[in-house]
């Protein structure tokens, strides 16, 4: 087992109120590189909330989150945004492509924001990723001219744009037919196994849960079981 990239210690998220609503309660979890982790559980069990905490989109109300050994929970919004930009890639149930931009421009967006590559290099990188997703011929298409499966693959290409350490998926196959779902699952597995990234997916899909290396089950905001598979 290699050193975990992301470690949650007693991660808790409560919504203020009387009484407060607990979304995630004291979650302890280690996310490992090269492994495909699936978070499963019934609706409303807090699995997406946990994912947003792990992805630095939401802030925990208690507990610590260590990214490669460094506590990132007290960081400012801009610092957290910088980490998301450099290290994380997100894929959601809905593709969330920016409708004004074509597939290529959508994939280039995080690369341009990071600003490490020239415009030409950014475009080459985005084309390479689209090619890897089997979308080489659709780079100039606007999102509404693409099928659901194609859009989701563009979104995955965008998530990979800055070569992230960690890929986070929130029901990435939730809106796809079985053929496209299987394709996305294979993709996620290869991101972990062949590219050595840490991949975390929240899912309802038993097919994904089956093939995951680590299966995290949640119930009522708590992690009920962590099982290594395969």
């Amino acid at each position: 087992m290699s050193a975990p990239v992301l470690v949650a210690e007693g991660l808790t998220r409560e919504l203020p109120g009387d009484p407060p609503v607990t979304l995630v309660a004291g979650a302890d979890l280690a996310i490992e590189p090269g492994k495909f982790t699936a978070i499963v559980g019934p609706s409303g069990c807090g699995k997406s909330s946990l994912l947003y905490l792990l992805g630095l989109i939401d802030r925990p109300t208690a507990g610590r989150l260590l990214l490669e050994g460094r506590d990132v929970s007290p960081l400012s919004g801009d610092e957290r945004a910088r980490i998301r930009l450099e290290r994380f890639g997100f894929v959601f149930q809905f593709h969330f492509l920016l409708p004004e931009f074509n597939a290529l421009e959508n994939v280039m967006m995080p690369i341009r924001r990071l600003g490490r590559l020239s415009l030409a290099q950014a475009e080459a990188r985005a084309r390479e990723l689209l090619g890897f997703m089997g979308l080489a011929g659709k780079a100039e298409k606007s999102p509404d001219k693409l099928s659901g499966g194609e859009r989701q693959r563009v979104a995955i290409a965008r998530a990979l744009a800055n070569d992230p350490l960690l890929v986070l998926g929130d029901e990435p196959t939730g809106n796809l037919d079985s053929v496209n779902s299987a394709r996305v699952v294979d993709l996620f597995r290869s991101l972990a196994h062949e590219q050595g990234r840490a991949v975390v997916c929240v899912t309802h899909d038993p097919g994904i849960a089956e093939v995951a290396d680590i299966r995290v089950s949640m119930l009522d905001g708590r992690i009920s079981e962590v099982r290594r598979q395969g």
Binding site: S48, S49, Y52, G55, I57, D58, G77, D78, A81, R82, I83, R84, L85, E86, F88, F90, F92, F94, F96, L98, P99, E100, F101, M109, P110, R112, R113, L114, G115, L119, R158, N162, D170
Partner: protein
């Protein structure tokens, strides 16, 4: 920094291009504001400049007269100024000849100021007598070659030239209407008597146009001849000063008065009441015009506000991607700036067209064709542009702050 800015500009531009109609409305709002600002302020500033120019040109910039604003200090006080506590009562003031005494020296002093011209003159009252009719005339003795450079009286001549005063013995220029009353024409001779008893024959060598203040009841003569007619040889009682910079008149007048004691009145002092009115007028104009620009910026507010609301989902996704709140606010502020800039350029064009239309209008005043005095200086363009830009940025920044309140978690989870 630069590639990031380019990306944000790219996003802002896409947002605006997608919402063409709203963009067009916001831009035309600013354009109309800027255009009418330019047209209105061109008229207001133009007419004011015209008016002030008339005020300035109507008479010399500074008039030094032989009056004193305060009595001359008593000789005793002057002699014991340091000790103070000296005051004489019941002394008799020596009768002095009225007039500016050290005028030659004052002329030299004024001529030493770069671009300044001083014109000495002597005025006094005479009575013109013709066939049993008497007519009062205020005679002003001038040096025609200097006076023509100091004031605009030569423009007001119907016939004759100022310089003719030097060519004709006893030449005088009087008002057209007065000449008509006496039945006089060019070249006619009239006799004039002054209070001190001198009587001379004057020959009409020029006539002032009707309705001009300068020409009614006033006759211009050669200084030398006026001195002899009025019985005050070598004396003058007025120095008209023209300065290169009319707005320095107040300072120069104060300096002359402090040094020589004679009352030196600048055009500002003479026209203080008019200048006060102009200040009020400007306050009104800028209030109204700022309101126009402010209302124009409401269009920007609406456009940016709608854009933020419409783009909540995109804001959330960009936040998750790693865009900072500052990035997203910048995108929307830039949208507002782009609208303002486009509006300013369109407004400049509109203003230019409006001014051309206004400038081409002809008005007939007393038989003379006049155009509206318009100020087309770049200053107005710059004022309109900077005011619109500031209003536009504020109008965009207010709704752009809303991006900070977009909670990505809510949107990404609950979305479609």
């Amino acid at each position: 920094m630069f590639p990031r800015l380019r990306l944000l500009v790219h996003i802002a531009a896409k947002h605006l291009l997608v919402r063409r109609r709203q963009t067009a409305v916001a831009v035309s709002g600013v354009a109309v504001g800027v255009g009418f600002f330019l047209a209105v302020s061109a008229m207001m500033v133009g007419s004011q400049t015209d008016f002030v120019k008339t005020l300035i040109d109507a008479a010399p910039h500074i008039i030094v007269s032989d009056e004193l604003r305060s009595p001359r200090p008593q000789p005793g006080v002057a002699a014991f100024a340091k000790e103070g506590a000296v005051e004489l009562h019941g002394f008799k003031v020596r009768t002095e000849v009225r007039g500016i005494k050290d005028w030659q020296e004052m002329l030299r002093e004024i001529d030493a100021i770069p671009g300044a011209i001083a014109s000495p003159s002597l005025s006094g009252a005479v009575t013109m007598r013709l066939g049993g009719r008497d007519e009062a005339l205020a005679v002003i003795g001038i040096d025609p070659s200097i006076e023509s450079r100091v004031s605009t009286i030569s423009d007001k001549l119907r016939t004759g030239r100022l310089i003719d005063l030097e060519r004709v013995q006893g030449g005088v220029i009087i008002g057209e209407d007065q000449a008509q009353r006496l039945g006089l024409g060019m070249g006619d001779v009239v006799s004039a008597t002054s209070a001190r008893g001198g009587t001379r024959s004057l020959r009409i060598v020029g006539l002032f146009k009707k309705g001009q203040q300068v020409g009614s009841g006033v006759g211009y003569m050669l200084l030398r001849e006026a001195q002899s007619l009025l019985g005050r040889p070598f004396v003058i009682n007025r120095i008209g000063v023209k300065l290169a910079d009319p707005y320095s008149a107040e300072d120069v007048a104060a300096r002359l008065e402090a040094r020589h004691g004679y009352k030196a009145e600048s055009w500002q002092e003479r026209s203080a009441d008019f200048l006060g009115l102009l200040v009020t007028r400007n306050v009104i104009m800028y209030t109204v015009v700022s309101a126009i620009l402010l209302v124009a910026s409401f269009g920007i507010y609406t456009a940016v506000s709608n854009s933020v609301t419409d783009k909540k989902r995109d804001i959330a996704i960009m936040r998750s991607m790693g865009f900072s709140q500052g990035d997203l606010q910048a995108v929307f502020v830039m949208e507002g700036m782009a609208l303002a800039v486009a509006g300013v350029f369109a407004g400049w064009l509109l203003g230019y067209v409006l001014m051309s239309v206004l400038g081409s209008l002809n008005f007939s005043i007393q038989g003379e064709v006049r155009h509206l005095p318009l100020d087309r200086s770049s200053r107005q363009y710059l004022i309109a542009a900077s005011a619109s830009l500031v209003a536009g940025i504020v109008a965009a920044w207010l709704p752009a702050r809303k991006t900070a309140r977009v909670d990505p978690v809510d949107i990404l989870r609950g979305a479609v």
